[in-house]
Symmetry: C2
Subunit: 285 residues, 2 copies
């Protein structure tokens, strides 16, 4: 497994692989790898002859009051895990190499990113689009694998690929969960033991929503109420940032007076102290 720090070196290596007829799958990560990331690497491994994993905490997707400086960085442990999963290249650039002085061109997304997490994280998805576009151009993948846990990110990036004509297949991989249902996340480690005990309520609330939906419930108000009821009962110290049923394609939130007649993303974000957790499920009528 090769570790590459220089963007130019990665691009040369990727172009050489393509010229040699290899297919490349890219797994963009911010490092601090857990089983969720490794499932993405396995998906990539099964779909391509070469797997490139980027391990880069991207400063431009963090807001001024977010956890960029504190975000856990565990590069050596990450490499050990990636070696075991059969990654071919780990790309680990410095922020200065990715954003040289005088950088002035970036990407913006003006529709999907207005809703859900985007509403409380202005600029976040612009930063995500910009860094992923750069990673796409550096790693030259045929396939890119992202987790469905970041449901809005997945949809924004699919939109980016369509709108800018990247010749890349975007694959969304299922959420990987702890045994008690909590979606795996690098931010879970910020939770206090008491918060950690409450956190699986996010998934239980979404499961209750799915169960009601499967039983025929189509009222947005009723489905949201099911989620909010479990959150307030089982995660009393969590403060919901949003609990939203949104159009699965446009991410426009449905109104409580609406009924579900098209595919919907049921998504939520809950703050435990300064730690913000997200989870989601799809509802398909």
């Amino acid at each position: 497994m090769q570790i590459i720090e220089s963007p130019a070196d990665l691009q040369l290596a990727a172009l050489a692989l393509r010229s040699a007829g290899e297919t490349i799958a890219l797994v963009p990560t911010m490092g601090n790898l857990h089983e969720g990331h490794l499932s993405l690497v396995r998906t990539a491994r099964a779909m391509a002859t070469r797997v490139i994993v980027s391990d880069f905490v991207n400063p431009t997707q963090f807001g001024p009051n977010e956890d960029y400086a504190a975000y856990p960085r565990t590069f050596e442990a990450d490499c050990a895990l990636l070696e075991r999963e059969g990654a071919d290249i780990v790309f680990h650039p410095s922020p200065e190499a990715m954003y040289p002085d005088g950088t002035s061109v970036s990407l913006i997304e003006t529709s999907l990113s207005k809703h859900l997490c985007g509403a409380s994280r202005p600029g976040h998805f612009n930063g995500v689009c910009t860094v992923v576009a750069k990673l796409f151009l550096l790693a030259q993948p045929h396939i890119a694998v992202f987790g469905q846990k970041d449901a809005q990110q997945l949809r924004v990036l699919r939109r980016m690929v369509r709108d800018l004509n990247f010749p890349i297949q975007v694959v969304g991989a299922p959420i990987v969960r702890e045994p008690d249902g909590l979606a795996m996340s690098s931010r879970n480690q910020y939770l206090t033991p008491a918060q950690r005990l409450e956190a699986p309520a996010l998934h239980r609330a979404l499961e209750a929503c799915s169960t009601a939906f499967a039983s025929g419930e189509r009222s947005v108000a009723a489905l949201r109420k099911r989620i909010l009821g479990i959150l307030s009962a089982s995660a009393p110290s969590g403060v919901p940032d949003y609990v939203t049923l949104a159009d699965d394609e446009t991410l426009v939130p449905l109104d409580d007076a609406d009924t579900v007649s098209r595919p919907v993303l049921a998504a939520l974000a809950v703050r435990f102290g300064t730690t913000r957790l997200i989870d989601n499920t799809e509802l398909r009528p």
Copy 2:
């Protein structure tokens, strides 16, 4: 010579050419081809085994009061010229194919585009960056050729290639002029006969500036005065939009009190009625 209208078809063709080991040069144009464009095609022809020319009047780089609807469209004549120059593929998409309903991801440039033409054409260079990024991803070129007449565009696109890591060599080709010195432009045909007689003063003014510079003049005020004097004497019906000496890399305008100590772009835009002409020259101390 193949004419392709579908973005997806162009991308398939381009990827197939790359896989077959061809080198691709792209010449993005808005059609209405003149000798200036053909010189770009010849440069492309000399540098690559395959030449793709895009012929697309891009709506997103026109302001609401600009000449998008009126911009001359001469596709059949363009194809005859391109066939003669040995272009391999002409890409001629519809605006709807390039910008499907719900398009929401685009590029922005926040530094170079503040100055010169960008000051009076807000959003223009964002539109240019977005369409050229799309053309790059569709045509998959190794080399892209642009004219030095659009000096600011060339610098913005070089910045885009650097900032987003496109693996593309950007080539700037020299300005092609009419026998009387007027830089070739699709917009020259809008000029009345009287305006057309005055228009070569733009180039004469820049030449006078270059001559003074070569003789040792380094005062920004004096060099600008040289340009403005010739414009007011020889193009009295032209209204200067700007006459600027700008840092050649950042495009930040120099002040009249400055002296030239680094490479400078001497650039101007002059309006004849509703027709806006541009020209430029580089000054290297």
